[in-house]
Amino acid sequence: MADVKKIATRESYGNALKELAAQHEDLIVFDADLAGATKTGIFKKAYPDRHFNCGIAEGNMMAVAAGAAAAGMVPFASTFAMFAAGRAFEQVRNSIGYPHLNVKIGATHGGISVGEDGASHQCCEDFALMRSIPGMVVMSPSDDVEARAMVKAAYEHVGPVYMRFGRSAVPVFHEEEGYTFQIGKGEVLQDGADVAIIANGLLVAEAVEAGKALKELGISARVINMATIKPLDEELVIKAAKECGKIITCEEHNVIGGLGEAVCGVLSEKCPTLVRRIGVNDEFGHSGPAAALLKQFGLSADHIVEVAKELCGK
């Protein structure tokens, strides 16, 4: 994949905001002294009058955004996932979620691929926290094309949305032309019948690679990109379970509370199926280069292949 273009989805977020703002005057952006890192700075450069820095005060930012939404704006509130979902959880829950206000939370630097900053900034709990808020849409894109389309879909959706973007550059594998994104719909990237790999975020590219490697080993893997964690595409999950019989979930998140458990929740009630969850195994991360960390934590194509082989008895 050496010649594949790589872009961090936080960059896609900033670019999409700028594109959207041209058509929608009600779109405004809040940031908490991280505009350079969340990439809302891209939007700020183009629309300085519509970008409001809140300073290092994430709780206030979320409730300010709620008030702006109550008065008719469509605010995108941005900070790192750790502070958006973690620090400001209760503001998101009570001021945005409970009144079901039209706030879009653009959380960047999700997962351990934050890298060198270490565990304090590596949020692996955000899916769990945000999923537990009634009415909240929770999404995490896999590449630039999907991320930009997702931001536009989030704008069109009426109600609160949480989007997690990554810090590290990831391969762009979707074709721009003809691409459409729908909230709550999974995407089958490779068909297969022996095992289904359901991934999101930067694990999707790894899952695709794993799918190809497994094919060479004689294992037919179905690879599904599940960018929306909530509402989950239950139909696609159940179909995969029925047709493949075994499921692997992959996410840059604690195995507790994220995509893996969302999939298990559906399957245990509607189609009991053997599931292996690949994710961060209920531990904190640590400092290091993102690529090395992902490998160390088993968030890689190689590890997916291993788990698939074991699951398929090969």
Partner: protein
Amino acid sequence: MTANEKKQLMAMACKVRMGIIESIHAAKAGHPGGSLSAADLFAYLYCKELKVDPANPKWEDRDRFVLSKGHTTPGLYAALALRGFFPVEDLKTLRQIGSHLQGHPNMNMTPGVDMSTGSLGQGVSAACGMALTGKIRNKDYRVYTLLGDGEIEEGQVWEAMMFAHHYKLDNLCVIIDNNGLQLDGKLDDIMCPYPIPEKLRAFGFEVAEIDGSDFDQMEEAFAKARATKGVPFAIVMKTVKGKGVGYMENQVGWHGKAPNDAEYEQAMAELKAQLAEVEAM
């Protein structure tokens, strides 16, 4: 203010207090102390200050009121009902299953409620967001928010104050109900937030200090708030927790407790006598 206007406000405040006692007694739960301390303010806001339309509660250009100290919503509900947003009889359904009158304000259930609040410290931030929107859209509506004096112990309140000043929200009026008591006791003993006006001034606010039961002072302060440009305005009002019901006044025990039947009768008798006195003026 004419004598007749003042009389009407006093009568409204008595009725708000009766609504508070009626609803909390019926619910067998609620927060009478801080509702009663702000009853005069609720009456003033909904009789005189706020540009609102009960027939069109979501009117885009209306003034907004955010009850940041959401637990004192019986006072807000009584004022809204008396102003015609919904039937006064609804007050007796407070906190019951199926009622639109939740234990803390819900903007999607109760006509006239502009923001869902209850978790202290958040309403003032939401009010900032509404005021900022007014600025962005060149609207001339104003945004009012009421905080408890205990509530300002929440750090988020001061994040919001910084925000209000930074973005020059002169369409925002922050009101602080300084009744001196919070759930566990006196502010001085629990976590002293004093001196409040000085703190607000240090955060860039123009501040008025008033007696929260004096309608003339209220009128003067709100006029000053409307005339202030370039900086946000705060009104710190000295009040008496439980005001209007003798046995509740300045009693911390009445922060969050409903009166029993005998206490209810006593409170209503007192308030009815006060109302009769006002009407005889």
